[in-house]
């Protein structure tokens, strides 16, 4: 489709560590401030400085925020990748480039916009390092003119991005203006333009990791133990900043403890220790950390200890592509550890849900007395998303089944693992409870209802069946799936950050082929009953996910009886880039029109 007003995707190809992040944020914000729906995707290398990186900004008047494969404009700042970047463009695509690269000697079918960045920033600052950073703000000015992005909005966005630093704001505004002036001599690329609209009023822009951190803050987290790993580090770091800002008493006393652990084994160990003692404790990690947590995660499930573990997924196996996105930890987290272990999973599909699951995860972990895994991913966690403002948690915290001193006095004692309520969930006491019958012995070895050591087969099996009932009961407590559309023959099931691509693909299938597709987005495992009903109501169900093996399809097959399982068609794919709608549409059509 040809680019149009408020419907384009532009890419900036640059070098890691050159400060282009601020410039790209300014562009994103300026479009957002003009009321135009936007999304930004950072494609960066596993490196601190000097390797190629690409940032894509999509403006979409229809509100689509998935990655769009086709580019409508390129800013080529990186000589190393320029030839390849340019070769991939469709005829007619405008290219803003660093003039000394001489790119216009290549393809004649592209629109060439040379900008002498070094010459334009030379008069702005004497310091060479600073000039290097300012170069990037020049293209912002140039694009502002080419796309008719309102310059005052650009300048306002610069003020936001360089918050509170008047000197930096002034310099960057000057750089943007220089780029804007330079572009005065250009003929604007036909069709491409940004026009003020009113689709972002009241909305916020935020990344999923910050949203998750805010959620945990309002969830009353008191212990955070973590070990740095991309793409989860910024979640822990945002939470640390949140806690420092909002969780100190009038005398500065914190209501929390943060420990940077020596590894993920220790991080999950600390979280379990804290959860056992009654704290709302969490950690954030990615696949390699999840692998290390295996043994203790199993202990947490078997000894029934609340914990919240965020897995911001990246491309595996092993170190894989550590700065690319994937949804391939579904199976490894659902069954993390040896033995018959199962953990509830929460699957946020938006930054709003990163926030709500950020606090709800604690309620669920304490209610179910078990580790709860929240599966985000790099795309959701580290990219900027438009969202509705976060909603204050209205429900009081659910601290689960805990017996205090008065309860014990009334009851005379308790059996830690007895299923007194028929929901598979026992009552626990916290260490320090001032009653001679409060104590129980927490262990990963076989235990009876009173937490006593037992190797008896029937005692073990009875306990394991109770744990199975508890996990089964979780279906009704976990977030319901979200259904869109009804009555179609074809259904799609997806989760997490695949959501924007699937929603856009439905529109494409309807508009281009007249194919109606119902959509169910699952938000938790074990699945709610509605998941089975959805499959039963459709002849063919495509399971869209970002991995190789179809892990969501696999989980569905485990739970569905034979005839229903046969309706599933796995559309799993992953090259590490965020899923785009065209890929989904093509994959569905390849089946439907085969």
């Amino acid at each position: 489709m040809a680019p149009a007003v408020n419907d384009f995707s532009l890419q900036v190809a640059t070098v890691n560590g050159s400060g282009s992040q601020s410039s790209n944020s300014v562009l994103l914000r300026a479009l957002f401030q003009m009321g135009i729906p936007v999304s930004g995707k950072n494609l960066f290398p596993s490196n601190i400085a000097g390797l190629p990186t690409w940032y894509t900004i999509r403006a979409s008047r229809d509100g689509w925020v998935a990655r769009k494969k086709e580019l409508d404009l390129l800013v080529a700042m990186n000589g190393e990748t320029a030839a390849e970047d340019v070769a991939a463009l469709r005829p007619g695509t405008p290219v803003v480039y660093d003039a000394p690269l001489g790119l216009d000697q290549g393809r004649a079918d592209l629109g060439w916009y040379p900008v002498p960045f070094d010459a334009l920033v030379a008069p702005l600052a004497p310091d060479a390092k600073l000039r290097k950073l300012l170069r990037n703000m020049v293209y912002v000015g140039t694009l502002s003119r080419l796309l008719e992005l309102e310059l005052p909005e650009v300048e306002l966005a610069i003020g936001r991005v360089f918050d509170g630093k008047p000197k930096a704001v002034a310099l960057n505004v000057a750089a943007a203006r220089a780029g804007f002036e330079h572009a005065g001599a250009f003929t604007r690329p036909p069709g491409l333009a940004a026009r003020r609209m009113d689709a972002t009023r009241g909305k916020i822009i935020v990344d999923g990791n910050a949203a998750a951190a805010h959620g945990a803050l309002f969830g009353g987290v008191t212990v955070l133990a973590w070990y740095p790993i991309t793409p989860s580090s910024s979640l822990a770091e945002a939470l640390i900043a949140d806690l420092a800002a909002h969780r100190r008493g009038p005398d500065g006393t914190p209501s929390y403890a943060v420990v940077q652990a020596e590894d993920e084994l220790s991080a999950i160990g600390m979280v379990l220790g804290a959860g056992w003692a009654g704290a709302r404790a969490m950690t954030a990690t990615s696949g390699p950390g999840i692998s290390l947590m295996g043994e203790l995660a199993g202990l947490g499930a078997y000894a029934e200890i609340p914990a919240v573990v965020w897995d911001v997924q990246r491309v595996g196996p092993s170190t894989g592509l550590p700065t690319r996105t994937q949804q391939a930890d579904l199976l490894s987290t659902a069954f993390l550890s040896h033995g018959d272990t199962g953990h509830p999973l929460l699957l946020p599909g938006s930054v709003e849900e990163c926030f709500t699951f950020g606090h709800q995860a604690f309620d669920l972990a304490e209610r179910l007395q078990t580790p709860v895994f929240v599966l985000s991913d790099l795309d959701l966690g580290m990219n900027q998303w438009m969202a509705e403002p976060f909603r204050y948690p209205e429900a009081p915290m659910d601290r689960g089944k805990v017996l205090g001193r008065a309860d014990l006095e009334r009851l005379g004692g308790f059996a830690r693992y007895a299923d007194v309520d028929g929901d598979g969930i026992g009552w626990r006491t916290l260490p320090g409870t001032d009653h001679p019958r409060a104590a129980y012995f927490t262990r990963g070895s076989g235990h009876d209802e009173r937490a006593g050591y037992s190797e008896k087969g029937e005692v073990y099996e009875k306990n394991m069946l109770r744990l199975a009932r508890k996990l089964d009961g979780a279906r009704a407590l976990l977030p319901e799936p979200v259904a869109t559309g009804a009555g179609a023959e074809v259904g799609v099931v997806a989760f997490g950050s695949s959501d924007p691509a699937v929603r856009e693909s439905r529109a494409q299938l309807a508009a281009e082929r007249g194919l109606a597709v119902d959509y169910l987005r699952v938000r938790a495992w074990p699945f709610a009953a509605a998941v089975r009903d959805f499959v039963a109501a459709h002849q063919r169900v495509y399971v869209v996910e970002q991995n190789r093996d179809g892990q969501l399809a696999g989980l569905l097959r485990l739970e569905l009886a034979a005839p229903l399982a046969g309706r599933l068609r796995s559309l799993a794919r992953s090259d590490g880039l965020p899923l785009d709608a065209r890929t989904v549409t093509d994959a569905v059509l390849a089946h439907e029109e085969a």
Partner: protein, 351 residues
């Protein structure tokens, strides 16, 4: 309670501590360890110490990893909560629990395998952090529970029953702990009731991590001729640095020693550990000298016991984090969920 004055044949009332509790209330389940195992003696000393100090058992939390040694928390302080975790990860679990509730008295029991092999990473980082915790290593030079393989604390030259000879350098957990900044480091012997008892009392009274490496012979797999962790070997090679006695916080000081031969260490809670020096010149406040002395002992085949190092004022993890006096775990909602205005401000900053 019925009066006993008219019943001259009634047995004497059991001795009670300052809480009025008899020692029975500090006992645990019946041990399932081998008869004569050093670990059993250590369990006795631990429960006696909490009894003597009059600490309510409900205020104690017990932690352990996996091994014969790590089973032992089931055999003392039955009125205390316990967390018997996985192999080598006791330190992390204890850290989380004691940060969640800083009012608990934490005691961790580990083995030489649990600490010096699989758990080495967690051990050294715990020592650095100085978490308030009594950390007891029940050190027998072997993996008892998996039937007697060498552990990393086995001295080179030590022989297993089947004839295998340890040929790697032994890890000295005490030397490591001192080097890493631990505030209380001691070595003792399960068979030395008096010394172990004094050290345990002092360890409980200490404010930060108190590491006690207690040589605790495995009577089943490592108590034979040729083992350097047998009762006979340790008795023959024990080099106590001091004669120790513990003076509770409330007791009067009575000085009856020759100047220069006795020293006192005042602990976090005001109680004191009195040291009558058996080795002139050894000062347990000198970190580098302590490590050097330990290395010398290792080379000479001595089992150096006593208080190896102490720094009662070293800041703990709880101090560094500035935690409030009450447990984080049970802070009321209004202290852990910020008000609506905070969320409004966050939303506004993202517009």
């Amino acid at each position: 309670m019925a009066s006993t004055s008219t019943a001259p044949a009634a047995p004497a009332e059991p001795r009670v501590n300052r809480l009025g509790l008899p020692i029975l209330e500090y006992r645990g389940g019946k041990t399932t360890l081998c008869a004569g195992c050093g670990h059993n003696a250590i369990s006795e000393r631990i429960l006696e110490a909490y009894f003597d100090l009059g600490i309510p058992p409900e205020q104690v939390a017990k932690f352990s990893g996996i091994g014969c040694s790590s089973k032992s928390p089931a055999y003392f302080l039955g009125r205390s909560h316990a967390f018997n975790g996985v192999h080598g990860r006791m330190p992390a679990v204890a850290t989380g629990a004691l940060l969640a509730n800083r009012t608990l008295h934490g005691v961790g029991v580990s083995g030489d395998g649990d600490t010096a092999s699989i758990g080495m990473g967690q051990f050294v980082h715990l020592m650095r952090r100085n978490l308030p915790l009594v950390y007891v290593i029940e050190d027998n030079g072997v993996y008892g529970l998996t039937k007697g393989q060498f552990s990393a604390t086995a001295d080179p030259g030590s022989v297993l029953k089947g004839g295998a000879v340890a040929d790697l350098p032994a890890i000295d957990t005490c030397a490591l702990a001192i080097q890493l900044g631990a505030g209380f480091v001691a070595r003792s012997f399960s068979g030395d009731k008096k010394q172990l008892s004094a050290l345990l009392h002092a360890a409980i009274a200490h404010g930060g991590t108190a590491l006690l490496d207690v040589i605790s012979p495995c009577v089943t797999f490592n108590d034979h001729q040729g083992s350097t962790k047998s009762f006979a070997y340790v008795k023959a090679h024990d080099e106590p640095l001091q004669e120790l006695s513990f003076v509770p916080a409330l007791e009067e000081i009575t000085l009856d020693h020759e100047p220069g031969t006795t020293a006192e260490v005042t602990l976090h809670d005001g109680s004191r550990l009195r040291l009558r020096k058996l080795e002139a010149g050894y000062d347990p406040r000198q970190r580098a000298a302590a490590v050097a002395r330990l290395m010398g002992a290792q080379a000479a085949g001595e089992v150096l016991t006593g208080l190896l190092f102490v720094d009662p004022l070293a800041p703990t993890l709880v101090d560094r984090l500035g935690l409030p006096p009450e447990p984080l775990a049970t802070l009321p909602p209004e202290r852990v969920r910020p008000p609506r205005a905070v969320l409004d401000a966050i939303n506004a900053s993202l517009r």
